[in-house]
Symmetry: C2
Subunit: 344 residues, 2 copies
């Protein structure tokens, strides 16, 4: 497997060109390319270059508007609403970012509710920048119905991830980002290809019976939430915060049947930003206290902090560039030609 090494900025430029060639405006292409290249750099392969084919396929299907101009509404002193106008979530978030940050600093807490929007990227990249600026951020997003409520045979919930980021004193932000489903949908497909059985509690078959067979989940079955009734409750909360609250669609309402090739659910996203100086009086003690917790955790044994693997990955990428498979990279660049068949 031939490898190529690309600087982050060069990768963003190249991906942006591919996206623009497929119907994205400059700003939209820039937002998607940055998210995609950053995830690839961080070792989050499932949300990195792997996503490019899905973006292009969705754009070509006419399901998403790559030129959409988000409409930002200052709904209340602590609340920003954005209608993404059937465009991608990332540029809609960018359009509201400064206002949300200002409101959080002024009010102590602020919410951002995005609707009518498409998200296919890594969610941790949405919350991390706030923590880098001294704020706490929590975000949830719904997707398409692939998860059942335990006891049901009807998929209702998306994989509905939750991401959280907070500043700490002695290092970059502490953050986590996880699906409220027992497993990512893509990982079930990989297990099926490899003929692997799944752990108990991962999913159900078409009759709603528990199964460890990935094929049973993929053919009429569904995933379960992680952690039983607790993950179920969280999956439900994410739907409520991302659809009912923002005036958008539930995962089960997404209907892209008229748009073959579409991969991005048109749903919603909610973000809550907290200024820790409102709680603890100043950022310094807050960040020092988070650090104290982390040091206490680390003193207990060989533990892993959530998402910490991105830091060494970033160091390597800064020194050597981001290593990519040459064939995969060429296939992505080939997507610039609009007539080209989309690579799966």
């Amino acid at each position: 497997m031939t490898k190529r090494h690309l600087a982050l900025d060069d990768m963003i430029v190249a991906l942006g060109e591919v996206l623009r060639a497929n119907g994205c405006s400059h700003d939209v292409a820039q937002a998607l390319a940055t998210n995609c290249a950053s995830a690839e750099r961080d070792g989050s392969k499932s949300h990195g270059l792997f996503r490019m084919a899905g973006y292009v396929s969705t754009l070509r299907s006419g399901w998403v508007d790559g030129h959409a101009r988000p409409v930002v509404e200052d709904a209340a002193p602590g609340f920003v609403r954005v209608d993404a106008q059937n465009g991608f979530t990332l540029p809609a978030h960018d359009a509201a970012r400064a206002l949300v940050e200002e409101k959080a600093r002024q009010n102590g807490i602020a919410a951002l509710a995005i609707r009518n929007s498409h998200h296919l990227g890594a969610l941790y990249l949405d919350v991390e920048p706030y923590a880098e600026k001294g704020l706490i951020a929590l975000s949830v997003i719904n997707s398409m119905a692939v998860v059942v409520h335990p006891g049901s045979t009807k998929p209702v919930y998306g994989t509905n991830p939750i991401a959280f980021a907070t500043p700490r004193a002695e290092a970059g932000p502490l953050l986590f980002d996880f699906a409220t489903s027992a497993m990512a949908h893509g990982d079930v497909q990989v297990a099926a290809q490899q003929g692997r059985q799944l752990l108990p509690g991962t999913g159900v078959d078409a009759e709603g019976q528990p199964t460890q067979d990935p094929n049973a989940i993929l053919s009429g079955g569904a995933l379960l939430p992680f952690g039983g009734h607790k993950g179920m409750a969280l999956a439900m909360m994410v739907e409520i915060l991302c659809a009912a609250l923002v005036g958008g669609q539930f995962s089960y309402e997404v209907d892209w049947s008229e748009h073959p090739g579409a991969h991005t659910p048109r749903t919603g996203q909610t973000l809550i930003v907290i200024d820790p100086t409102a709680g603890a009086g100043s950022l310094a003690p807050f960040a020092a206290r988070v650090e104290a917790l982390i040091q206490e955790v680390l003193s207990g044994g060989p533990v892993r902090l959530p998402s910490e693997e991105r830091y060494p990955a970033r160091e390597i990428a800064a020194k050597e560039g981001i290593a990519v498979d040459a064939a995969q990279w060429d296939a992505i660049l080939a997507l610039k030609a609009p007539a080209e068949a989309v690579q799966a």
Copy 2:
């Protein structure tokens, strides 16, 4: 087993008398008694009358101040801070409730951060009243260190529950309330008494090795978070939001060794309240949308909604009174005599 049936209000009056006899002011006693009796009425036995011995024992130990007067600080347009002054969390919450609600309605979202506070009650009762008034509420609370970070031998996290409540159109609030530990600590003790093995993933022994033996967890071992690394991330988030953010203590910092008999951790609580009219434009569409999600879930099979069992329990209690074991009730009333030894 002889049963007695008590009206909710009579139970609150009687429990309040017991608490006042043990060093609570009228307001504090009223807040604790209401929470305790309401949980008992709802069938949430682990947070009902069962808690009374712990309250009394803690009051007698001198660890908590039953006469504390919470100090409410209007920290920002969307942020309320309360120093409970080493008193119980419930009266501190009561002291700030109207202000938090007003801020949520004015700003779209508001936060309440309580520190230096003791909570031994059911958390869902803290969020439900907001949903009954048309608001969304999310609350987290840390406790005492009985949960390890996976890979560690040192308990760091509390059972750190998360509770959420939202209005819905056709019924009372939808809510959930769960510990981020794999199991409640009390349930491990029950399993040990009954000689039952636990499910895999519940806890570790003193060497940090996974165990299904409740005795190994209780003698030097610890609980694990629910749902592996995902529950761990949530447990960590709860610590940060309840201690670092509010300027209070982490679960691992609680030291009641000078106060034998103390049962209530002195930690913190954070509550986030959202006005759904800021997001969706008006409460009617929001509540109708939540209802649509619930109906979609219910149409998929014989499913259980989180915490729904409280509704039939309330109906029965309203008709017949709350059924209590006569011996248990008499033992609680006996706690009014200050010289009386505390019943375990």
